[in-house]
């Protein structure tokens, strides 16, 4: 084991936090989507890294599924964002506030 697993944890945590940060500060729906992708990747990093550490393939398999699901999610997301764009003329999430309270 060349690199201590803790580093991977730190890396993934960093990526996760950056993703979360992106969600919190950006109002563009697409950036929101991308940030989510980052967060999912952070999970993947963990899974793959510790798949190696634990010596089983479970993590890798799950990571695979996650990649697939992320893709599907993006597909749905893009669709929704496009419809949003058509209805609100923008993809700024702060504009879509017809329903509140």
């Amino acid at each position: 084991m060349a690199v201590a697993m803790e580093y991977y944890l730190v890396l993934s945590a960093a990526v996760f936090c950056i993703g979360l940060f992106g969600i919190l500060v950006r109002s563009n729906a697409l950036v929101f989507l991308m940030s989510v992708e980052l967060m999912l990747n952070a999970a993947n990093i963990n899974l793959v890294a510790f798949s190696l550490a634990h010596g089983n393939l479970t993590g890798q398999v799950f990571a695979l599924f996650l990649i697939g699901l992320a893709a599907a999610e993006v597909a749905v997301g893009i669709g929704i964002i496009l419809v949003l764009n058509r209805n609100f003329d923008d993809i700024d999430v702060r504009d879509a506030v017809t329903m509140r309270w």
Binding site: L24, F32, V93, A96, W101
Partner: protein
């Protein structure tokens, strides 16, 4: 031969039937149900007289449990029953009540029917229900039953005072009458409940009675519950005083007398029956009924005597200045019941009952006479509008005069004998070892003068002199149905004193005091206790042993002479002031004193103030408090929730980024809390 006593319940039930008939069928009957009432009360009178005859014939007092009202659990809980107790006292009272009721029914034919009143079925139903309740009260064998019918009597009084409910005054008077007596009955009810709790029974007579039990306890045998840490004697006094509350209310004693004058708003026959002869007597009768209990408590007796004496005097002063005929009679009624209370409190059991009897007769007479005058005067009651009626309605005048002289205590009318005996007994015991009674006696003596004065004033103003108005000039004639009761009662007012010629007992001998003999236990034995627990004789013993009353030596004749002289002084004064054809309204000369008297010492005012000036504002404050604070709290909880809801709603800003932020914040908070708790860092 049928045992007459088994018919006893019918004495009260007859009028009850009359009530039902009058209420539901009265409108279809001639005379609006009066005939049923007359027949029923006549029947009651006959039966009552039969009872008297039977008892006089030596039959023992009769006691029977009629009906279990509320049964107790086996071995536990008290049983509430109805029963009847026919002893000399109640038999006498039954006769009085049914007699007066009978006469009043007859009189009502003239007073109500001939006057074309509407609502007669209601009127006769009321009379019937009243007679029923009163008779049932009289023959009650226990305090609870007595209380119940006592209350029913109050209801009837309410209904009858408010007979002319379409006018405001009778409705108001009815309310006041019920409310004031209710206030007294409140204490009475406490008393009844307390007696239940103390003795487990409220029976008046017999081995099991509370009277006997209390006597036994004070005699050192047996025991009883006491409450609030009081001793036996003190508790018995408390019980007696509680019951006395009802007595004071019903018998219109100071300070609960205020309802009676107002009650004159009712039809005059009603005043005669209820507010003079019978219902008001219920209070005094009740004291007599449980005299064996009161005799155990000198304190209670003293209070009774003082209240009685004071009431006799104060009410008499108020009667001095009244201008309405019935008002004078009302205050005189209060005053006379004061005498009875004085007698009972002063140890004069027989005297009290005697005065009760004579007063019933002559006061009913006076009221009916007043009713006759009122018919004649087209319902104008102001004496200053009358005058000169003597010649125009002689029957009324002479009977009324007889009643008046009896009231004034002039020899040889009935009132003289009884009032004299009242004073005599009080004096005897007062001189004995109870100086407190002398105070009552003094009040009584003063009241004698005043009574004579206002009575004669009343007679003079009404019947003598010249007619002061056109109506008095040509009064409406009255018929036989008015005159007949007047004559009957007039005769009785003259001769009733013969029952008990106590003043001249040294002359005629003790054994010829019929009433004394009648009420005495010497003739009684049987189930109601050894030696006649209900006898006057027994009461005297009790008074001596328990209350410490001792009879001093004093000449009955001398006392009678004093009373008569004082009464004559009053008569003379009235005669001097109001004789002649056109008397002056002398009372106006009294100035401020008159005002105080005319306002009845502001008794009404303060009682009205208690209701409207104290209770009502307090109630309003309570209502404000309820609406504002208690309900306000409930509503505030609701409002606060809604406001909180409004706040919680605002969390949902609609901006998805904020949601993400809050979500993350929540997660971080959880992380911090549980991280710290779980030692992750």
């Amino acid at each position: 031969m049928v045992d007459v006593f088994t018919l006893a319940p019918a004495i009260a039930l007859f009028p009850l039937f009359a009530f039902g008939i009058a209420l539901f069928l009265g409108s279809k009957m001639p005379k609006g149900g009066a005939l049923a009432g007359i027949a029923a009360t006549g029947g009651s009178l006959v039966l009552s007289l039969w009872m008297v005859a039977e008892i006089a014939g030596g039959a023992g007092p009769y006691h029977e449990e009629l009906y279990t009202f509320v049964g107790g659990v086996e071995g536990e809980g008290v049983t509430l029953t109805f029963g009847l107790l026919i002893d000399p006292l109640s038999a006498l009272m039954l006769v009085i009540v049914s007699l007066i009721s009978f006469l009043v029914h007859v009189f009502s034919l003239g007073y109500m029917n001939d006057e074309g009143e509407t609502g007669l079925p209601r009127y006769y139903a009321g009379l019937g229900l009243f007679t029923f309740s009163m008779l049932a009260f009289v023959y009650s064998d226990n305090l609870l039953m007595a209380f119940m019918f006592f209350e029913l009597v109050g209801l009837c009084s309410y209904l009858l005072i408010g007979f002319w409910f379409r006018e405001r005054a009778p409705a108001s008077a009815a309310k006041k009458a019920f409310l004031v007596t209710r206030f007294g009955d409140y204490f009475f009810l406490i008393g009844v409940v307390a007696i239940f709790a103390t003795f487990g029974t409220t029976a008046f007579a017999g081995e099991e009675s509370f009277v006997t039990a209390a006597e036994a306890v004070l005699g050192g045998e047996g025991e009883m519950n006491t409450f609030l840490g009081l001793g036996n004697q003190a508790w018995i006094t408390v019980l007696g005083l509680l019951v006395l509350g009802g007595v004071i209310g019903k018998s219109a004693q100071f300070p609960l007398h205020t309802w009676l004058p107002d009650a004159m708003e009712g039809p005059t026959p009603v005043s005669a029956l209820i507010h003079a002869a019978t219902m008001v007597a219920a209070g005094v009768y009740l004291v007599a009924r449980m005299y064996g209990f009161y005799a155990l408590s000198p304190t209670a007796l003293g209070i009774i005597a003082l209240i009685g004496g004071f009431t006799a005097f104060v009410a008499a002063t108020m009667a001095l200045v009244k201008q309405e005929l019935k008002q004078v009679l009302a205050y005189s009624t209060i005053s006379q019941y004061g005498y009875m209370m004085l007698a009972l409190g002063g140890g004069g059991y027989v005297a009290g009952v005697f005065h009760l009897t004579t007063h019933a007769v002559f006061k009913a007479l006076l009221f009916l006479g007043a009713g006759s005058v009122i018919i004649a005067m087209h319902h104008n009651e102001n004496m200053w509008d009358m005058g000169g009626l003597k010649d125009r309605m002689p029957v009324t005048y002479w009977t009324f005069l007889a009643g008046s002289l009896a009231l004034a205590g002039i020899f040889p009318f009935a009132g003289f004998w009884s009032k004299d005996e009242v004073l005599y007994e009080t004096l005897l015991h007062g001189l004995g070892d109870s100086p407190l009674l002398l105070v009552g006696f003094a009040f009584g003596l003063l009241a004698v003068i005043l009574t004579a004065f206002y009575t004669i004033r009343m007679v003079l103003l009404t019947f003598h002199g010249d007619p002061r108005t056109d109506v008095a000039e040509d009064p409406e004639p009255v018929r036989w149905n008015v005159k007949f009761p007047l004559v009957v009662l007039g005769v009785l007012a003259v001769v009733a004193g013969a029952l008990n010629l106590g003043t001249i007992k040294d002359v005629i001998g003790e054994e010829n005091l019929f009433l004394h003999e009648w009420l005495d236990g010497a003739t009684l034995d049987g189930e109601l206790g050894e030696g006649g627990a209900l006898s006057a004789h027994h009461y005297e013993e009790l008074l001596e042993t328990q209350a410490g009353y001792e009879a001093a030596e004093f000449s009955a004749l001398a006392n009678g002479a004093i009373a008569l002289v004082l009464a004559l002084v009053g008569v003379a004064a009235a005669w001097y002031l109001y004789r002649g054809t056109d008397p002056e309204p002398h009372m106006t000369k009294l100035g401020g004193v008159r005002r105080v008297l005319a306002h009845n010492y502001y008794q009404d005012e303060y009682q009205v103030w208690l209701a409207t000036g104290l209770a009502l504002p307090v109630a309003r404050v309570a209502n404000k408090f309820d609406q504002g604070i208690i309900d306000g709290f409930v509503d505030a909880a609701g409002t606060a929730s809604v406001v909180a809801g409004e706040r919680f709603r605002r969390i949902q800003t609609g901006v998805v980024t904020n949601y993400a932020a809050l979500l993350a914040l929540g997660l971080v908070l959880l992380l911090l809390v549980f991280g710290l708790a779980g030692g992750w860092f």
